[in-house]
């Protein structure tokens, strides 16, 4: 039966498209400020911050199968924490502000994640989706009525903070600062999704039941990913409010959560780079479609139609045009050697 003393395995397929694609996108982004004007650079900085929001959604849905419409809530909460620390406690140290944003993301991610995932019954996708959507809605309503934080008017962030010795105001320097943070977040997320925890997340996405019967306490990795995603969204929201100089109840609402989903679907669900590409593509469309005279009064409808068509005909998004499914899913095993061999062994 098992008497072979040498096993030749198929060679692991070489990954070609995805790393090249990722590298190309990042290289292009680094190059853009050298040729673009101030407005384009500032806009792109905003897009990159929204990409972080999209990445947080991608971690949950694209990798782990958690359909969350609450990323907007964490995004807005991060902004509010920064605004409150700045306006009420006169904190202008960026590191303290961002620690506050990340901290609140972790705390609230754990709290709501525990509520959603750690119940006696395993929650369904619909339960999570509606639960998180409700969270966004309630958050917006709550902050709309809370006078201490400006109620419906929101808050202006007047102070200028310094990050790595540069003033964080829209422009080239702020762009590269945000690029730096995006790169860190991207690499962190890549590390997580390519790790064995990422393999478990992949299993959760495909067959949660099977994982349960293999012995996994499936709610724990879900809670970890949900909290990690919440922290990313909160950090992004905090930096977004510093960049834009403003935070309001709409930052917490369902709109941002829905846009996060759209960015990922359009860019390519199941890849981190898809979240970035989708964000930039949709935001550029939002920016420039209203310039077209023929559709200027209903450009939002046109944008919606474009999104529907793309998602219907390219369910794997823009990234799906360049990266095959196998490469998108990836391989998680040990790749110390290309040809896999095992020592000869005898089985009794």
């Amino acid at each position: 039966m098992c008497l072979k003393n040498k096993i030749n395995m198929n060679k692991i397929p070489k990954y070609r498209a995805l790393p090249v694609f990722e590298g190309a996108v990042f290289a292009l982004l680094l190059f853009v400020p050298l040729i673009a004007d101030k407005f384009v650079i500032s806009s792109l900085t905003v897009f990159l911050l929204l990409s972080m929001l999209a990445i947080s959604f991608e971690l949950c849905w694209g990798y782990t199968g958690i359909l969350t419409f609450g990323q907007g809530f964490f995004f807005g909460i991060g902004g509010y924490v920064v605004a409150i620390l700045m306006n009420k406690a006169q904190v202008i140290n960026f590191y303290v502000l961002s620690a506050g944003a990340i901290g609140i993301g972790i705390l609230l991610g754990l709290f709501f994640g525990a509520f959603l995932f750690l119940g006696k019954r395993v929650p369904t996708i619909i339960f999570i989706a509606i639960g998180t959507m409700t969270l966004s809605y309630l958050g917006e309503r709550f902050f709309t009525g809370w006078a201490w934080v400006g109620a419906a008017n929101g808050q202006t962030l007047w102070e200028v903070v310094e990050v790595f010795g540069v003033e964080f105001i829209p422009g080239v320097k702020a762009f590269y600062v945000v690029m730096f943070f995006l790169t860190i977040i991207y690499l962190l997320c890549r590390f997580v999704v390519r790790s064995q925890l990422g393999l478990v997340c992949s299993g959760l996405r495909q067959s949660e039941e099977r994982l349960k019967f293999l012995g996994y306490q499936i709610q724990v990795p879900k809670l970890i990913i949900f909290t990690f995603a919440a922290a990313i969204a909160s950090f992004a929201g905090g930096v977004f409010s510093l960049h834009e100089g403003f935070v309001g109840p709409t930052s917490l609402g369902f709109t941002f959560s829905a846009y996060a989903a759209l960015y990922c679907l359009f860019g390519g669900s199941g890849t981190l780079i898809g979240a970035i590409i989708g964000t930039i593509a949709i935001e550029m469309a939002r920016l420039y479609l209203s310039d077209i005279n023929m559709i200027k009064h209903y450009w939002q409808i046109v944008l919606g139609a474009i999104l529907i068509v793309v998602i219907l005909f390219r369910p794997h998004g823009i990234v799906g045009l360049f990266v095959g499914t196998r490469e998108r899913i990836g391989y998680f095993g040990f790749r110390g050697t290309r040809k896999l061999k095992v020592k000869a062994d005898k089985y009794v």
Partner: protein, 265 residues
């Protein structure tokens, strides 16, 4: 050694009584066959033992512990491993990754994050694939496998290291602070040979005979020849109750069993 004891288990689905006071005992180092006509409650009983649902009445004790209402993942960690009737693997992952995910069930999330077990499990996974003749399909996606190969994959995920002679080093034993799923104590296999060719069934039978040396196995099957060849003990269910049980020879000559099988065509 008594592995599992099922006493008076009942399960109702609306007006349908799927299980009605089933009693079952399973001992170590034996293969038990669970047979019966369609709708007799075989899969329901398997699900009750695995934790897919909880019985309305009765108890299930596994290694002396009452697991009647225990969550499936905890049962799995105690050493109860299942292969479902409908093939349930991870279709987007390759064969290698399916086994990798199965073998890491006992690891903490922190260890999984640092992928500490990946290298250590490499050779074990190779051995398992070799045993189940999947070595040439290591990096093929499961959805590209034949039905029989998918069955083997799922069985291999359930059996883990039961077919290995690999001894854990002292260091590895010390690391396994939780009950190791590496060697399940009870294998539940629901129709493991469905869709397999004759040759594949033969190989599967040989594998299970080897595996029983390290655990107990409970198989649900419709292939009575397969059951006869490998089982030490057969339990016959009919209408949610144990109709008869005994050695294959006893069951073959049991009038009750013959009547049930011939009357339900």
């Amino acid at each position: 050694m008594r592995i599992i004891e099922v006493q008076g288990v009942c399960k109702q689905f609306g007006t349908l009584c799927a299980l009605n006071g089933v009693n079952l005992k399973i001992d170590h180092n034996k293969i038990y066959g669970l047979i019966g006509p369609n709708g007799s409650g075989k899969t329901t009983l398997m699900k009750a033992i695995s934790g897919a649902h909880f019985p309305d009445k009765g108890t299930i004790c596994f290694l002396g512990q009452d697991i009647t209402c225990m969550n499936p993942h905890l049962r799995s960690q105690l050493g109860l491993s299942i292969k479902f009737q409908i093939t349930s693997v991870f279709p987007e992952l390759c064969v290698y990754d399916n086994l990798l995910i199965a073998k890491q069930a006992g690891e903490s999330s922190w260890k999984l994050l640092w992928s500490r077990s990946k290298k250590a499990l490499h050779e074990e996974i190779l051995e398992i694939m070799e045993c189940f003749h999947l070595q040439d399909r290591a990096y093929d996606r499961v959805s590209d496998l034949s039905h029989g190969e998918q069955q083997w994959l799922e069985i291999s995920m359930a059996t883990h290291d039961l077919l290995s002679n690999r001894e854990l080093s002292q260091e590895q034993q010390a690391e396994n602070s939780t009950p190791s799923p590496l060697k399940p104590r009870l294998l539940l296999l629901d129709e493991p040979t469905a869709g397999m060719s004759k040759e594949e069934r033969k190989i599967t039978g040989e594998l299970l005979l080897k595996a029983k040396q390290n655990c107990a196995i409970l198989i649900v099957e419709h292939d009575l020849d397969f059951i006869k060849d490998i089982c030490d003990h057969i339990i016959v269910l009919s209408n949610g109750e144990v109709l008869d049980e005994g050695t294959p020879e006893e069951i073959e000559s049991s009038n009750q069993v013959i009547e049930v099988y011939t009357s339900r065509v």
